[in-house]
C-alpha cells in the first residue's frame, strides 16, 4: 500500500437494496487525495445511492473504508466526525441563518457541549479562510435563504471545508449553475482536491470532461467502465448506454474538449435524460 492509498476512500463490493430492488449491486472504486474523482451514469444508475450508503443515509453491505477505517454500519453523524462531508443535489443550507452562522455551526463539530451555551464571539480562522475560498466574504451577514443558487452550493462546500474533512462527496454541485459559476466551482474543486479526496456525482458531461481526473461510469447499479476521461469516453459500452448504438459515432466527438460539436453531443445527452 502506498502512502497515497493510506488516505484513500476505498469502496469494495458495495451493495444497496431497497425491499428486494438492487439499487447498487456490487460496486467497487477508490478515490485518492489529489484527484477530482467523478461518478457518472444515467438516471437510476445508483450514483447518489452510493454516496448515501457511504454517508450512512442508506444501509449498504460490502465495505467502505476511509484511511483504513470502516464506515459502513456507523451512524451518519459518526461518519461525518470521521472526516466525510457531503453536499446534496438541492443545496440545503439553513435559510434563516446568516452565511456566517451557517459556517459557524459547521465549524462547531468538535466543540464541547457546554461551550454551545455561550454566544459566538469573533470568527474562527477556518471560517475566514472558507469565506475567502468560496468567495462569500462579502455575504457573511446575508441570510443564506436569499443567496443565489450557485452561492448556496458554494456555502455548502464552505460548510464542509470548515470541518476539515478528509473526503468531500458532492452530489451534482453544478446543476443549475451558469457557465461562469461552473468554471469557478470546477476550479474550487481542483484546489480543494490538492489535499483531500473529492468525489463528484455529476450529470454534466462538459463539466466532467473539464475537471475529472478519473471517472467511474455506473449503469444499473454496476460499474460499467473506469479510468481517465478519454478512456471512458472511448469505451463502446459507455457510448451505448449514453446514446444507444446508433449514436456511437457522434459520441466520438465527446473526446474533444468543448467546442461546437460537443454541444450537439451534450444536447443529445440531455435528451437521453442523462
Amino acid at each position: 500500500m502506498t502512502a497515497a492509498e493510506d488516505h484513500s476512500l476505498v469502496v469494495t463490493d458495495l451493495r444497496v437494496e431497497f425491499d428486494g430492488f438492487v439499487a447498487v449491486g456490487g460496486v467497487s472504486f477508490d478515490a485518492h487525495p489529489g484527484e477530482v474523482r467523478f461518478l457518472i451514469g444515467p438516471n437510476g444508475a445508483g450514483k447518489t445511492t452510493c454516496i448515501d450508503a457511504i454517508t450512512g443515509l442508506s444501509k449498504g453491505t460490502g465495505s467502505v473504508t476511509l484511511a483504513g477505517q470502516e464506515l459502513l454500519g456507523k451512524s451518519t453523524q459518526k461518519i461525518v466526525r470521521l472526516g466525510v462531508g457531503r453536499t446534496f443535489q438541492t443545496a440545503s443550507v439553513f435559510e434563516q441563518l446568516s452565511v456566517l452562522q451557517n459556517l459557524d455551526i459547521a465549524a462547531g463539530l468538535h466543540r464541547s457541549s457546554l461551550s454551545l451555551l455561550r454566544a459566538r464571539r469573533g470568527v474562527d480562522p477556518a471560517i475566514e479562510s472558507a469565506l475567502d475560498e468560496t468567495g462569500l466574504s462579502g455575504e457573511r451577514d446575508t441570510p443564506a435563504g436569499i443567496l443565489s443558487h450557485g452561492q448556496k452550493q458554494w456555502l455548502e462546500i464552505g460548510m464542509m471545508l470548515v470541518q476539515e474533512p478528509r473526503a468531500l462527496l458532492l452530489d451534482e454541485p453544478v446543476a443549475g449553475m451558469s457557465q461562469d459559476e461552473r468554471t469557478a466551482t470546477g476550479e474550487l474543486l481542483q484546489r480543494i482536491a490538492q489535499r483531500r479526496i473529492v468525489l463528484v456525482v455529476e450529470h454534466d458531461m462538459d463539466f466532467m470532461r473539464r475537471y475529472a481526473s478519473r471517472v467511474t461510469v455506473l449503469h444499473q447499479g454496476k460499474v460499467l467502465s473506469e479510468g481517465a476521461v478519454a478512456h471512458v469516453q472511448a469505451d463502446p459500452r459507455v457510448q451505448e448506454v449514453y446514446l444507444g448504438t446508433a449514436g456511437a459515432a457522434s459520441t466520438a466527438a465527446m473526446a474533444v474538449v468543448p467546442d461546437a460539436t460537443t454541444a450537439t453531443a451534450d444536447a443529445a445527452l440531455q435528451e437521453e435524460g442523462v
Partner: protein, 377 residues
Amino acid sequence: MTKLKPWLPLIGIAVFAVLLLVVAPAVLSMHWINNLGKYCCWAIAAVGIGLAWGRGGMLVLGQGVFFGLGAYAMAMHLTLESTAPGSLPVFMILYDPSASLPAFWEPFRSDAFTLAAILLLPVIVAGVLGYALFKRRIKGAYFAILSQALAVALAVLISSTIRETGGDTGLSDFKYFFGYVLNDDANKVMVFMIAASLLILCLLAVWQLNRSRFGELLIATRDAEERVRFLGYDPANIKLVAYVVAAVMASIAGALFVPIVGIITPAEIGASASILMIAGVALGGRASLFGPALGAMAIGWGQSSLGSSWPDGWIYILGLVFILVTLFLPMGLSSLFAKAKGLVWRPRDTPPASLPDPAPVLERVEEPGRIAEEVAK
C-alpha cells in the same frame, strides 16, 4: 444603535421586570395581583413552549403533562402541610376513613423533596420520553399527537384515581405555603413575586439560549434536521435539551399555579388546557422572546375576564383571533413589529446592489451569474 441592538432584549426584560416586580404590586388590587400571578404561571410555561416549538420546531401539544407534574407535586406537599399530623387529607377521609396515606404521598411531606421533584420529575419524564421519540426520529404531527395523547392520559389517570389524587375535584384548600399562611395578603404578594421573578429568570435563560451557539443550532435543526446530521451533530440531542428545558419550565409554572390559584384539577392539565397554553404562544409569536410570554398573559387575561363574564362569546373570540393570526400573522403579533420596522426603515436600509468587494475568483464570476438570473426572470 448597532452596538445597542444585541442588548435590546435585555433592556426589554429589565423593563418587564420593573413593571411586574415594582409597578404591579404598587398599583394593582389584591384580586388583580392574584390574577397576574396566574398569568405569570402560564407565561412561564409559554416561554418554554416558545423555545421548544418556536425555536426547535417541536409542536408540544401536551405541556399539560409537565405542568401537571409540578402542580401535583406542589399540591400534595401543600395538602400534607395543611393536614394535621397523624391524620389524612380531608378528601381521603371522605372516601375511606380507615385508609392509610398512599406510599407515593409520603416523601412529599419534605420541603426539599417537593422542590427537587418539581425540578427533576420533568427532567426524567421529558428526558426518557424525548430520548425515545427523537432517537426514533418521530416528529411533526406524530410527535404533536403523541404529546397531546399523553396529556389526556395523565388527566384521565388522575380523574380515575379519586382516592389517591382527589380525582376530578382536584386538590384544594391549601392553608400553608412552606410555613407561610396563604390567606395573608403579604404572603400572597410574596408568592406573586416568586412567580414573576421566575418568569423573568426563564426569559433570561431563553434569551441566553437563543443567542448562544446552541440557539443557532436549534434553529438549524428546526429548519433542516438532516443537514445538521450531515454536519456531524445528532439532532436528537439538540431537540432533547430544548424539550427538557421546556418541560422544566412548565413544571415550575404548574408548581406556582397551585398556591396562587388555590386549586388544581385534571381540567387544568388536560387536552384543552394544553392547547390553551399553545394558543397564547401562537398569538404572541412563537419564535420571539417576549411573544410567548405576552401572548399567554393576554390569553390568560381574556380567559379570566371575558371567559367568566361571557363564556360562550369568549370561546368564539378566541377561535376568531386564532384564525386571524394564523392567516395573516403566522409568526404571531410580535412579527408586527418587524413588519412595521421594515416599512419605516426600508428606504434607507436598502444595500447598494454592487458593493465594491475585495473579490477573490468566485466573487467576480458570481455577478454575471446573478445578472443572467435577473435577465431570465
